[in-house]
Subunit: 402 residues, 2 copies
Amino acid sequence: MRGAVLAIGTELLLGDVINSNAALLGKQLAAAGVEVVASEALADDLGLLVGAVHRHLAQVDVLVLCGGLGPTLDDLTRQVIAAAMNAPLTRDPRIEQQLRDRFAAWGRPMPDAVLQQADVPEGAEVLENTAGTAPGLWLEKDGKVVVALPGPPHELRAAAATVWPRLSAMTGRVVTTRQLLLHGLGESAVAELVEAATEVPAGVSLSYLASGGLVRVRFTTSADPAVLAPLVAAADRALGHHVWGHDDETVEGVVHDRLLARGETVAVAESLTGGALSAALSARPGSSATFRGGLVVYATDLKQELAGVPGPLLAAAGAVAADTAAALAAGARERLAASWGLAVTGVAGPDEQEGKPVGTVFLAVAGPTSEVVEARLPGDRDRVRLLTVQSALHLLRKHVSR
Amino acid sequence: MRGAVLAIGTELLLGDVINSNAALLGKQLAAAGVEVVASEALADDLGLLVGAVHRHLAQVDVLVLCGGLGPTLDDLTRQVIAAAMNAPLTRDPRIEQQLRDRFAAWGRPMPDAVLQQADVPEGAEVLENTAGTAPGLWLEKDGKVVVALPGPPHELRAAAATVWPRLSAMTGRVVTTRQLLLHGLGESAVAELVEAATEVPAGVSLSYLASGGLVRVRFTTSADPAVLAPLVAAADRALGHHVWGHDDETVEGVVHDRLLARGETVAVAESLTGGALSAALSARPGSSATFRGGLVVYATDLKQELAGVPGPLLAAAGAVAADTAAALAAGARERLAASWGLAVTGVAGPDEQEGKPVGTVFLAVAGPTSEVVEARLPGDRDRVRLLTVQSALHLLRKHVSR
């Protein structure tokens, strides 16, 4: 079964909004066994959109439209489906009542245009949207499936809940993906090790994805998922300690889980990342069980005042130095009463600092085991900050995984 | 002049990568006077891509391809252009030498496939990529312009530097956009005030964009940009103190500029945002002139230990309370020796805390003027954290703008 995604909205073409829905829909369709062959964004233009629906349906079995289901004049998706699929709109009294009730509960007058959200193309089923006012639509006609989903991502997720299992049942395929997540090894080196250690059978595909210093090895099959386990195990053995996680794991999630299992906590002292390292460690629900807090010692004097880096050390070695990073980690650990202290100091740019070039970063961990690492990170200010956070999380992960 | 964007890469269809380049390219093309009518992502498939180039060029004058210029076998963009535009590839000796020099400097052997990055379609000009190895391409043929840019966003920006002024010169249009940025007023209320205060002349378009608690009012023209100034001034007067900035300003940028002008600094104490408020204040270059640092007091006892919130207050009012927020702001101000202390404490979720529902947030500023605000923020954990950061920045902005 082949599919296409059509995102609707002039704001996508003007670049006012990043089309993150396309990625979400691509992932879900692939997992349901639908091969996505095109993903397009088009402006709010009835003729153009009707033409695009016809063009896509000549190539694919499933077309997912997203956006254009709201209450304003430029929300055309229902009319597009009606015209392209020859399925005239009728007003659904149940949806109309829901809309009236909702506005009554808010105590606000309801503009008439809101009621267009109750218009349903002939033969279409309504997909309930628990997160907003615009319901989605599912229409099967002439051997094709057309699905329309609201544009705001949380509404899209709510309205699409029943769509993925239904498509999966139609394709009769459940695509299973297993991933190994690696750090500290290049894509080509990873491929060499994996391909020497595994023999990939027919019906399984092997791919690699590199981004942001991370390499993913991915085995995919729509056959019996049991075939993947020995492949993952063999790749795990070949890649050894470079594998830090599997599937949808995140490095902060792995750190949290390991700390929780060990009954330990972490505290941060960070300079160039300005709070972003602490933000990563506190992002997931439940992080208060392992994350104590952090010191954002952006100004140099605060490295002494808040984190207890000795003044003579700061004066001699400077703010960007291995010993300073070690003292920051020890200070965070002690002053925030944590099992582990994790610290970063360095030059995010755009200008060099203390004669050290942009990208010079010192990372330190202090705890049951301790280490200081110097790194030269590539890219501009934003990228150096991002890579510093990732590197620090991996440094801690290494120590709590021992 | 009409344009289209074609992003190339199977990873975009599988949803492994969010297609943020499409938004960047849409923005730049619009500013250069090119009307973007379609934006598409397609898989790495030569036949499919050649067909798409033909299809788009039947509709538009400018086609921008992005991605597929790298050194691996599935990087097909050069071959696509050669086939679709009937412009055979020849190897450019200057690019070849640059590639050889670069690998020699890295001390790494150069795989042969790397050299395909030196292949240039007949008649195409090379767009230098100072951020990576894959140069871009500019080809004018048969009255059409085809531009190919590398996929990694920082390489795309580097290779595209000369493209936008050149397209602007070709369209003979410079599209000028002026924006007013608002906080604390809904989209429909904004529209009512603007439309009562301005008469928009022919050749100027007025639009509104609402996202993440922020409303943008936008005037656009490709005529004489001087026509926009009185419109912006009238809208400014009508919207009064709700306008916090213009054009590409960010709230953290406005806060930084105002603090710098006043010779003042800020320090943070934050709980539910876990470092993200400090990270926002330290994101831009030069922020060390106004941002001192922060205390991430995630664990409750650290609110007392690090930020000096009195123990009896914590015991009586709890961690999520107006008085606790005020004490956090005062503590950050004093202990980090800043002109202003900015603090947030609240419930990010997923579970309620101290009997307070998810989204309950207290924000406090302490300094020459002081204030505590209670907010009920909507959404899940990520969204509550994001909106808390935005609300805190706007609270400080209000105080430093007086």
